[in-house]
Subunit: 191 residues, 4 copies
Amino acid sequence: MTSTKKEQILNTALRLFALQGYAETTTFQIAQEAQVTEPLLYYHFKNKEEIFTKILEKIFAEYKQMILNLPSETVTVFDKIENLIRLHLNIASMRPLESRLILAHCPAKLIENGHFCSKILQEQEQLLLDYLITCLKEGMAKKEFKKLDAVNTALVILCFINGLFRRKLFEQQHFPYEETAIVFCRNSLLL
Amino acid sequence: MTSTKKEQILNTALRLFALQGYAETTTFQIAQEAQVTEPLLYYHFKNKEEIFTKILEKIFAEYKQMILNLPSETVTVFDKIENLIRLHLNIASMRPLESRLILAHCPAKLIENGHFCSKILQEQEQLLLDYLITCLKEGMAKKEFKKLDAVNTALVILCFINGLFRRKLFEQQHFPYEETAIVFCRNSLLL
Amino acid sequence: MTSTKKEQILNTALRLFALQGYAETTTFQIAQEAQVTEPLLYYHFKNKEEIFTKILEKIFAEYKQMILNLPSETVTVFDKIENLIRLHLNIASMRPLESRLILAHCPAKLIENGHFCSKILQEQEQLLLDYLITCLKEGMAKKEFKKLDAVNTALVILCFINGLFRRKLFEQQHFPYEETAIVFCRNSLLL
Amino acid sequence: MTSTKKEQILNTALRLFALQGYAETTTFQIAQEAQVTEPLLYYHFKNKEEIFTKILEKIFAEYKQMILNLPSETVTVFDKIENLIRLHLNIASMRPLESRLILAHCPAKLIENGHFCSKILQEQEQLLLDYLITCLKEGMAKKEFKKLDAVNTALVILCFINGLFRRKLFEQQHFPYEETAIVFCRNSLLL
DNA sequence: TATGAATGAGAATTCATTCAT
DNA sequence: AATGAATGAATTCTCATTCAT
């Protein structure tokens, strides 16, 4: 119930950054579509960059929570990996704007020149890697998975998830190969 | 071996668009780094957009050739899929600027609003899909591969390649899991 | 009595457009002579064209009022025509910039390609024609004027007024033949 | 049979200057529509201004000839004035581009700042005035015309002709009041 | 919290003109 | 006589940002 205008600004900016890109979105456009005046942007945020940054922080925080909330107890070990894949595909459907924002700016804006995001991105990636490495080791220990190099395979699965995520997001129509993707991964890992 | 000024412009623009993004690159910067004057850009090209477009056309044409040049005779059917994966990872190393240009602009600039690239992108994707579907069917016919849904699996492999390509490109250090990736895919497909 | 910056812009633009022409006047020059910065032009007006348009609208509105304010009761019918002639000669003296602006742009910029002014110009002309036709008919009915074709004569008088107006405006020195012009017209019309 | 390209340039420039105005016409456009390259413009003419000047000189020379060719022997004195009026209306029909060029640039470009045309214009005007004054005096001497101030009346008739000329030129449809105009003038002058 | 007015810096693009050939 | 390549100097317009209120 608080600060509705500030939220309007953030929501509008999220949408515009996601759909048009950061550089292609003007502060005027944000103000106009958020139904506020431009100076108000500068009342609530230091500058355009900070609007972007705040949005990212929120997205990353939520994403991190989702990863941490994944069930730690599952019937099979592969279920955990399956959960991770499905989580990402769900995010692409449920949070298309947030997903686009990240993907569209990922190499160009986020990774370069010591952007604060590069740190967050690395951290997040480490989280995923740890999750996957633990799974893989557990799966091998329980003889559920083939023998494999846990670290490298975790990285490969990460690439796979990233590729699936990206495609689901930019696929205009539906994405009918979720099951195929799971099977593809399972076949690769299971003994 | 001196390049013409037109080529200097295209090379500089390629680099800047790849490293900074289209919107973040100014015509002034292109001119300056290409050691020409700004109006010369407009002598050789209609506008900034056309510089971008010409670069893309060239990249896409070369990429298409590479796909078409993949060997049609291989020892195993999986070799063909392996070749496709390795080709993309090679492109990421050998043509980092061209690769970045495409990836960095792919969702935001290329796919949207009837950009000429969306047609080329679709065409190129179809090329890859046809290649993969043919491989998968052949592999199943020869009892080399498991029984699987050729179309959906082709799409899934595409996502996989895309994910690998992207990571290799943005991985600052080396990319030591190429072999792991090949194994991951082979394990999934082979009987 | 200090004028706002917006007014300064309009006044300066009026002067420059009138003296140099629209195309020959730069936004930089307007800003400089109006003692404002260039972006302020774009804060108050959409673009250069709109500055021109707003000026024209004002001029036309005032001109229309002047026509409508002409006395409807006069001693002789010819007085009305005389009033119309004198009004235009007065406008040329009292509003030289506005007059020049219209005349200098009249064929080239105003009439062509659906410019909003072509509508206004036609409307204004119809106003004058109606005024003249009514006079002529009244003059004939009252046996003050010769028998003549009212519509065509009205058009001819319009040409005459236009020619006088233009000359008065561009005559460097004074314009000593106002009386001669009135006599010329009276001689032509009166029985 | 000589220098056809030079003529193409002049003809194209005449058309473009007449239809769009001097400032609105680019040398590129002239070159393109004349089917030559831009540097050729500078081979044949010192600069853009000179192209304009050469065109004007030709127009003025031809115009002067037309005035001088008017018959010096006529049945009535008014016939001479009628001839002058009809000549101008004919020029408007037969030489619309040349007429437009003059009218469209007359105040803004031609009269100002010591443009060479201001001299020619003045000279031409003197020619017309002399012609008219001579007629008027002759008409009065022969008791064909009323008693009037020859100089001022000549100027007034000049305005009248100018007004007719201008209207005929910019009247989209036909110009049906030529006869009315002649009658208007005759009524004014004749005893 | 909110805004109308204003601006410095710079963006893309144009244009008359020139130079080497 | 003719041109392809090139440019200095502008031109219109934009944009993130600030200031006074």
